[in-house]
Symmetry: C2
Subunit: 146 residues, 2 copies
DNA sequence: CACTAATAATTAGTACCCTAACTAAAGGAA
DNA sequence: TTCCTTTAGTTAGGGTACTAATTATTAGTG
């Protein structure tokens, strides 16, 4: 195996990305479980805590997720009582995905989540911010032209 | 929404990670489809092109994937004729996952893959390497202690 | 040697993830 | 106004991804 192998696993950004993503997200599981959330659900709630109500399309664009992924996911959050989905009055193709009081109140418990993960990672916050900025660059480069 | 909101989406490394990972991996789909591979399968093949045969456990550790994920995935690659799975003689709990001649030959077509993705991303190779190194740091921090 | 504990891989179950197809509603053009 | 095109969200289907449970094999202990 030559030292300059173009297909070497440790040369592939996509592998580093996939493995890091899965592994980091895996750390959230025990932290989010007491809140009754999976990681993708947590991301949805983060978006709604920023702004609610929002449409499925808006959530999809914000989270880089397809409607087909969001649809059942939102359904499960609705069943859990954290949000409601109602047809918009001005455009009945669209849904207003809106936090319930329970969904809103969950935010205060979620405030402890990032700190727990940062502590588990044991990296400097400044380094995490640098990594995050790199990822934002990468996401922009990979995203479809607007 | 305060400017220093600890739960702001764009402050979460995990969100940047999830979105970037999904989006970048999504770019591979049309490139890998002519090779008959999904992205996770591509990663498995990369590992086997480095070294074959390998056990499921070895592949799992290398790729940060659970055996439960690998089991059906390898089965599909076996059905596709790219690899075989055989009980090891020295330890019948373990499998030897070994490339077939077809699996081995696929590598030459796969050599074009990274270049296509890099071109699509339009980022300098040096920047991609920097990002990859960051991710490797992150993966190490997130991984269970050895 | 007998028995217990640990290990490797598979299966079951749940929750994503995407593409493709579909239904219903809205927008736009003639 | 009518009709075609586009859009929003859902459903279907295939492929992951994980935890938990299971089966069979191996390792370790007395």
């Amino acid at each position: 195996m030559p030292a300059d192998d173009p297909l070497a696993l440790d040369r592939q950004v996509c592998f580093a990305l996939a493995a890091a993503s899965r592994t980091v997200i895996g750390l959230y599981r025990p932290v989010l479980e007491p809140l009754g959330l999976t990681h993708p659900q947590y991301l949805v709630m983060l978006a709604l805590w920023e702004r609610s109500p929002r449409t499925v399309r808006d959530l999809g664009e914000t989270l880089s997720l397809e409607p087909a992924t969001l649809s059942p996911l939102l359904k499960r959050l609705e069943i859990a009582g954290l949000l409601t989905r109602a047809r918009r009055v001005d455009d009945e193709r669209a849904l207003d995905v809106e936090l319930t009081p329970a969904g809103r109140e969950l935010r205060s418990r979620a405030l402890a989540v990032p700190g727990k993960i940062v502590a588990r990672l044991g990296l400097e916050v400044s380094e995490l911010e640098r990594i995050r900025d790199s990822l934002t660059t990468l996401l922009a480069a990979a995203s479809p032209p607007q």
